[in-house]
Subunit: 203 residues, 3 copies
Amino acid sequence: MNLLSWFDLVGTFVFAISGTLAAAEKRFDFFGAVFAGFLTAVGGGTIRDVLLGAYPLAWVQNLNYLYIIITGVLTTFLLKKYIAPLRKTMFLFDTIGIGVFTIIGLQKALTFGVHPIIAIMMGTISAVFGGVLRDTFSNEVPLIFRKEIYATACILGGFLFLILDNYLNSINLKVIITILFVISIRIIAIRFKLSLPRIENLN
Amino acid sequence: MNLLSWFDLVGTFVFAISGTLAAAEKRFDFFGAVFAGFLTAVGGGTIRDVLLGAYPLAWVQNLNYLYIIITGVLTTFLLKKYIAPLRKTMFLFDTIGIGVFTIIGLQKALTFGVHPIIAIMMGTISAVFGGVLRDTFSNEVPLIFRKEIYATACILGGFLFLILDNYLNSINLKVIITILFVISIRIIAIRFKLSLPRIENLN
Amino acid sequence: MNLLSWFDLVGTFVFAISGTLAAAEKRFDFFGAVFAGFLTAVGGGTIRDVLLGAYPLAWVQNLNYLYIIITGVLTTFLLKKYIAPLRKTMFLFDTIGIGVFTIIGLQKALTFGVHPIIAIMMGTISAVFGGVLRDTFSNEVPLIFRKEIYATACILGGFLFLILDNYLNSINLKVIITILFVISIRIIAIRFKLSLPRIENLN
């Protein structure tokens, strides 16, 4: 099992926790929390695979995703008061998650023979759509549309990964460099309060 | 035509009525009502089939679903004042509906060679996702995430059906026992005000 | 390239603008605007293709859609003050868009051997679901469910196109007649304040 597969598990686990925390705020019950955790963790990859027609879906074929997600939800239920304050740790793991999901989605799309730009889109969809679905089903405007450099970090990370692909052989090295890059973009964006322009600023 | 097929029609009809009643509350017009009825009635099965890659979809291939749904919507438009008070009858038919949709979805998923746990998930998705989509498109937080034992009744019904599958041959008998079980769970849950724990109760 | 293909580009461009304007009202950032433009422009066709199992999706295979959408979003960002007042022009292009998308969706569905009624449904889904998704992700009740004769114009246009198919050979002529018909329905509906009945009016 390579580094990417390990990070995939970490990302799935962290996204399940983030979905459960969102469900807790909305006063969902345990089933609602599992649903929110599941949607956040595998929703992005599911949308990507449905758009590609890539059957069977990963979580349909491999029960480990379900087990990891339920573990994530139970962990959050039992240890909420310890998890909630870990904002910085969660931020780090979440960013590792979107970086990894971008790379996995991008690679999978390329195996379907799509243009690299579409592959980067599919990677970004893998990374961010779980959160978009979670927010939509919770009746919230998805945060991603107005907050910080989030999807942009995935898109830029996707470009970097494709460039590195021409020069490096080690998948582990490419993954580490890309994820460090995505983390740096998010930290820099937060530190300097960078954000994308809104349409009303331009008129 | 076996009992399951008959119940499938009943479930589709009742779900179309429930979608139309939700549309009426939101002041949708006739097209909106047909859309809400359609989404509620076939939305869950559609999501299941898209997740499995099970083409062609049942309602694309078989126009009877569309006819039943339009009949359900028209019935609700014409007889609303008689239908609205029939809460107990609607509850009964709705529970038959989710029981049947769970069994149909579970069986279909098994024909795709998935693990029984995934099959139970697919059955539950068939049963509850129509309502989730109806609520999401109506800009409501789906009720299922915070109210009563609803999805849980499907999950438990799914387990029972798989267990019965080892001991009984008659599909009709298995269907009746499973549906009576699902109805009992919902009645007991309502009578004793059972609900799943929420995350804030645990901390 | 026939008239239908040209109109397809016009429809995609106009729908991208309409999505961007909706995003601006919600104060989405640039990425959110591209997402909203994209969803509005290709969301309906994507839902249609996923329901039909028609892979690969048009925009996955053909990058021109992406380029047209990004051009539409940038145009809106740069020229918002000139575009916003062009309500009548936008209405005209939007109606050409739904007419064209109905015809394209209907034709594509027929190549999958579905019943003509399902083909008209698929055409209507192509035309209106982009806007439905845009509204749902923006946390709005989709306007289409309660405003004017919008989906109805697509459904009637679809019927007319299928009837014309028996009598005319020229695709351009059929497209022009159908689109003029759809435009007429919408103008008549607005002029005479026609709308579909709501359920509460009937009781």
